[in-house]
């Protein structure tokens, strides 16, 4: 008997009702929702953990000395001092050098990939560039320490300019971090450049522009905000970069702009304390959380601003 021949009473009702199937559907939905909620819990966990220890830290060390003091010597027995500036200086120095290296390289290669390279060469250049992003940061650190400093930086600066270059130095760390962020910049910027409508390029060419005019005077300005966002995201990666910097730049907190000496970044400090013997609950151990909190806030701010810019950019050319 087919359903068409059933009487009205025998036909399955269309009314919603509880059955094992709908119950199962609801359960699955709930489980999946919890999975998604875990990410929010992670953020909440990060903030809770960092915040509670930060509060305890500031009950022992005043906020003014944290932001006012220029010396960072938490291990000192008789006179521990907690001025964040030496660590902040190290972090920004490395990020600054990385930006000086990574931004031009990344932007130029993005322009090359989007405006000049043929479809064929792009198809192998782009994945090869991404390999740079897949190499663990410890490898970059090793490269800086074992190859870059002794075979490139020391010969050049000591023999040619007569500047002494330490075995640990900010410059080598900045350079490798700069190379590390190239793929971030180039692939994000390339997406942004490619989303500039083809019509604008054609209009430029039809007005007698060379490819250079089109790239630099039309495409680049049109994509500028998106590229800024790419720079910000890459710089926030440089700020959070840990192992390469720890290995290559050492752990000597120092408020100076000398790039040939050892320095300590916020991330490197966190690693060094973890490797040491600081006991849970001590002021030195709590300083870990404060530094991590600063790092978290800095990178979060950079990320949020970058995402905001990117979203506004996408609304212009969707």
């Amino acid at each position: 008997m087919t359903s068409a021949t059933l009487s009205a009473a025998e036909r399955p009702s269309l009314q919603k009702r509880w059955s094992l199937t709908t119950l199962k559907e609801q359960c699955i939905r709930l489980v999946l929702f919890c999975c998604a909620l875990l990410s929010v819990a992670t953020t909440a966990g990060i903030i809770l953990v960092l915040f509670s220890e930060t509060v305890l830290f500031f009950s022992q060390v005043s906020v003014f000395s944290f932001f006012g003091d220029t010396v960072w010597q938490p291990q000192s027995q008789d006179n521990p001092r907690f001025g964040i500036w030496p660590l902040a200086c190290g972090t920004f120095l490395v990020a600054g050098i990385a930006g000086l290296i990574g931004m031009p390289l990344g932007l130029l290669s993005a322009l090359y990939l989007s405006e000049y390279a043929s479809e064929r060469s792009r198809s192998y250049l782009k994945p090869t560039l991404e390999v740079l992003a897949g190499i663990p940061s410890i490898v970059y650190g090793y490269f800086a320490l074992v190859f870059l400093t002794p075979y490139v930086l020391q010969p050049i600066f000591e023999n040619v300019f007569g500047i002494e270059v330490g075995g640990f130095n900010v410059l080598s760390a900045g350079i490798v971090v700069g190379i590390m962020i190239v793929p971030t910049i180039s692939s994000l910027s390339e997406d942004v450049l490619r989303s500039v409508p083809r019509g604008l390029r054609e209009a430029g060419l039809a007005l007698g522009s060379t490819k250079f005019d089109v790239s630099v005077r039309i495409v680049l300005p049109a994509a500028l905000s998106g590229i800024m966002a790419a720079f910000l995201l890459a710089l926030s990666r440089a700020v959070g970069e840990t192992m390469a910097v720890t290995i290559a730049a050492g752990s000597q907190p120092d408020l100076s702009l000398n790039v040939f000496r050892s320095i300590e970044t916020m991330t490197a400090y966190i690693v060094m304390v973890s490797l040491g013997e600081a006991s849970v609950g001590s002021i030195e151990y709590r300083s870990l959380y404060v530094v991590a909190m600063s790092l978290f806030l800095i990178t979060l701010a950079m990320n949020i601003v970058a995402r905001f810019i990117l979203r506004r950019y996408r609304n212009v050319y969707q």
Binding site: R29, L32, V40, G45, P136, T210, L233, L300
Partner: protein, 325 residues
Amino acid sequence: MNETAFSTDSQLAARHRWGRMFEWACAIATWMCLVILAIMLIGVVIKGWPHLNFAFLTHFDSQIEPETAGIKAGLWGSFWLIALTALFSIPVGIGAAVYLEEYAKPNWLTRLIQLNILNLAGVPSVVYGILGVTVFGHMFGLFGDWPREPVWHLPFGDKVLTGALTLSLLILPVVIISTQEALRSIPASLRHSSLALGATQWQTIRYQVLPASLPGILTGIILALSRAVGESAPLIMIGALTYVSSTPGNIGSVSDFFTKPHGIVEAPFDRFTAMPLVIYNWASQPDDIYQSLSAAGIVVLLLVLLLMNTTAVVVRQRFQNWIRW
């Protein structure tokens, strides 16, 4: 008519010259990155060459006789770490992505979760390390001050499980984002046709959407896991060892899985090291022999990554031949 005097032939030639120089600059920038990559890889291989043999994989680290040191402990540590990380992050990551793509309504909560995931992807790994050591390592000190004698295995302390949970949180955003992209590439018509046949939403997802997006999801997961393989900072922070002469669960070869099955249960609660940590330890020793051990370790690490990435590419192409839109 306006004057055309503003463009002479010599000016045009100069513009073309500029254009060519700029194109060269762009090309050089691109190739320079690749050349540096090549130098880095070749340099590491040359430096590590003396130690690159099979014994390097089967020997433990040694401070007395560095000539015979190997990366066995790191290799097995990384194996357990990644296996457990995969176990935790894959179901949760796919679940979250499926919820966001298939179930979630576009309301403020969904937007919050989405924005939150994007931002988590940008959080430095040391911050995850701090989270890991506090939450999984000593569990907020709820069970007393670690490292006092724990209740059963709680808190997890500096064990494999802590590392794996920490790394899972670290790669979760990456897994979610890539899975979402894979799900988004599935045409809506597939979902509609399944729903029109009377399938429930979960049946549609389970039997149509997930199988169809599997290659994309797998590729994303493998890439995320390979990030976890190379991560070292969070592991240092949870207190993982850098020098150890045992493997988790005392499983040091494939046959041990069968001869010592209890080791499989013990491994997650064992102390451990991982390849990047061994490499870091060697790299921070002053002797040249350690530098070259470090290079050999890097080569092994990169080979593992290469293996994983090749798998990703093969998986992708295999499946793509089956499914075409």
